[in-house]
């Protein structure tokens, strides 16, 4: 009996958390109407998320493209079908690796920072101070972050796609085992990709961006218990956004096929 009670309590907690997240999301979206006069903080967040993450995202994408090319290319070369490498790298980068890898990177780098920053503000009464100044913490903190992530993550992903495909192309050209000229690689890639697919990839990235910002702010607002609480929130935000990104990735892929 006690066992069931524990399970039921856990389920209730999860349901409560989901409900709270949804409520926070609705409130944040409601405050989108205030976006024009908060452009300053939105641009500041975009700068942090986009410009700050760009170099590392490029680097990751470059190596992902390269390793994809070298792994698949050498395998294909055994059957003499290495020309297909352009299509394979292009499709994987645009459909899956670009959006997912970059979003995971942003979740680790930015989502955790958001949870820590908002969490510290909660712990050190700054959020309470905002409330007594009659400034909605959701409008002041969550809304700019969500909007910034919604637009910046797809932009980062677009860069990642290009750099990943380029990296794959370079490897295909210079690796003696694969030895596919860049022009062939490029033609193959162009033939395999459609604008619709690129758009779907960017749409995924937008959803993932929303998840990262929303989870970061939600976990931040729920922080309690001093420095230890802030640390826990940081971890929790990364775990939760990874999980939600993976689930959302499956669902989006399933319904966008």
């Amino acid at each position: 009996m006690r066992f069931f009670n524990i399970i039921i309590n856990k389920l209730l907690n999860v349901a409560q958390g989901l409900g709270e997240m949804l409520a926070l999301l609705c409130e944040t979206v409601y405050y989108f109407k205030e976006a024009p006069r908060n452009l300053n903080s939105i641009f500041r967040q975009m700068n942090l998320i986009g410009v700050g993450t760009l170099p590392i995202a490029m680097l990751v994408a470059l190596f992902v493209g390269m390793v994809l090319s070298v792994q698949t290319g050498t395998e294909l070369a055994l059957y003499g079908t290495q020309e297909a490498i352009g299509a394979i790298v292009g499709v994987s980068m645009v459909k899956e690796l670009g959006p997912v890898m970059t979003s995971l990177l942003v979740a680790g780098r930015i989502g955790s920072a958001m949870a820590a920053e908002v969490g510290a503000m909660e712990v050190y009464e700054e959020i309470d101070a905002l409330k007594t100044l009659e400034i909605s913490p959701v409008r002041y903190l969550a809304m700019p972050r969500l909007i910034a992530c919604l637009f910046t993550v797809p932009a980062l992903v677009a860069f990642s796609m290009v750099v990943g495909i380029l990296g794959g192309g370079i490897v295909a050209e210079v690796n003696p085992m694969i030895n596919v000229p860049f022009s062939v690689y490029y033609d193959n890639m162009i033939r395999a990709l459609s604008y619709q697919e690129i758009f779907k990839g960017l749409l995924k990235a937008m959803v993932f961006g929303g998840i990262i910002a929303h989870v970061g702010c939600y976990v931040g607002f729920k922080t309690s218990g001093g420095a230890r609480g802030i640390g826990e929130s940081t971890t929790q935000s990364v775990v939760l956004s990874f999980l939600l990104i993976m689930v959302a990735n499956y669902l989006l892929t399933r319904f966008m096929i």
Binding site: R37, S41, E125, E126, D128, A129, K131, T132, L133, I135
Partner: protein, 299 residues
């Protein structure tokens, strides 16, 4: 619009965005109405009037722990009222109920006769502003001193930018920190942080100001300075002040009336003299221990 050079300093965050800061601020200001340029403030900002607070049968529990037990208090307009008592007796919690950060399980709090939790009534008859000075000061670390103080004015678009600058300077000199608006909050000492927090509260021209443990973590000299700041405010501005403190001397020195809380209940209310002369053993014990054996006058 204002000149680009001025714009660079205008926004809350633009300084961290330079050299694009001026551009973004200009863009942002493009969306804001003309009040940003004016000298005049919104009607009702100037001047503050003390408000009355009536707390009736307020109860609050966390689980089995009954923290506030049937609190009844009446605070008069313009009064400086202190709530004293040992730590963990629910003093700060009571303060949080007044500023709506917590909601009681039963009972109600009336400010100028309106229940604070009835949002409709408050919004309709909104005629007072309140602000709170937190125990930890709760300054926004991402902003400078000046931006902290001007945050409410800017966010609520109460005044034009030139006027806001002037208000920030005025409030800073009121707490003895003139010319410090460009400092980062991390460069401030504990006493300075507290005074900036007070200046931030005063920037609202509040009718009611609440201090949560203003002297906690301060040395005696800084506490004394702080007491002088609060005293001089009392003379210059007509507002209702509520102080929660376990610093007995501080409270007795500043207050018109003092309430003592013990174990979630108000056990004594009176003028500082009455409290000093109180025969209640808990009050006597509190006075005796906090003054290290030096008992109050006439006790």
């Amino acid at each position: 619009m204002t000149s680009p050079d001025k714009n660079a300093k205008d926004g809350n965050f633009s300084s961290s965005l330079s050299p694009f800061g001026a551009f973004w601020t200009k863009l942002a200001h493009g969306f804001t109405p003309s009040i940003m340029d004016g000298e005049n403030c919104q009607i009702g900002y100037e001047g503050s009037d003390g408000v009355s607070i009536h707390i009736e049968n307020l109860n609050k529990s966390f689980g089995d722990h009954h923290v506030l037990k049937n609190i009844n208090l009446a605070i008069e307009p313009g009064e400086t009222f202190s709530i004293i008592g040992p730590s963990g007796t629910g003093k700060s919690l009571l303060l949080k109920h007044i500023v709506k950060l917590e909601q009681g399980d039963s009972g109600r709090i009336l400010i100028n006769g309106h229940d604070v939790n009835e949002t409709e009534a408050i919004n309709k008859n909104r005629s007072f502003r309140y602000s709170m000075v937190f125990q930890s000061s709760a300054l926004f670390n991402s902003l400078t001193v000046g931006e902290n103080i001007g945050l409410w004015l800017r966010e609520k678009r109460i005044c034009g930018e030139t006027r806001i600058r002037r208000i920030i300077q005025e409030k800073l000199s009121l707490v003895g920190l003139a010319g410090k608006e460009e400092l980062r909050t991390s460069e401030l000492s504990g006493g300075m942080r507290k005074r900036v927090a007070i200046a931030r509260s005063l920037a609202m021209n509040p009718d009611l100001i609440l201090y949560d443990e203003p002297t906690a973590e301060l040395d005696p000299v800084t506490s004394d300075e702080l007491a002088r700041v609060i005293m001089s405010l009392k003379e210059k501005v007509k507002l209702t002040t509520v102080i929660v403190s376990h610093d007995l001397n501080f409270a007795l020195y500043l207050s018109d009336r003092v309430a003592m809380m013990h174990d979630g209940e108000v056990i004594a209310i009176g003028t500082p003299d009455e409290i000093k002369k109180s025969q209640n053993p808990i009050v006597r014990n509190f006075i005796y221990t906090t003054t290290k054996g030096i008992q109050g006058e006439g006790a």
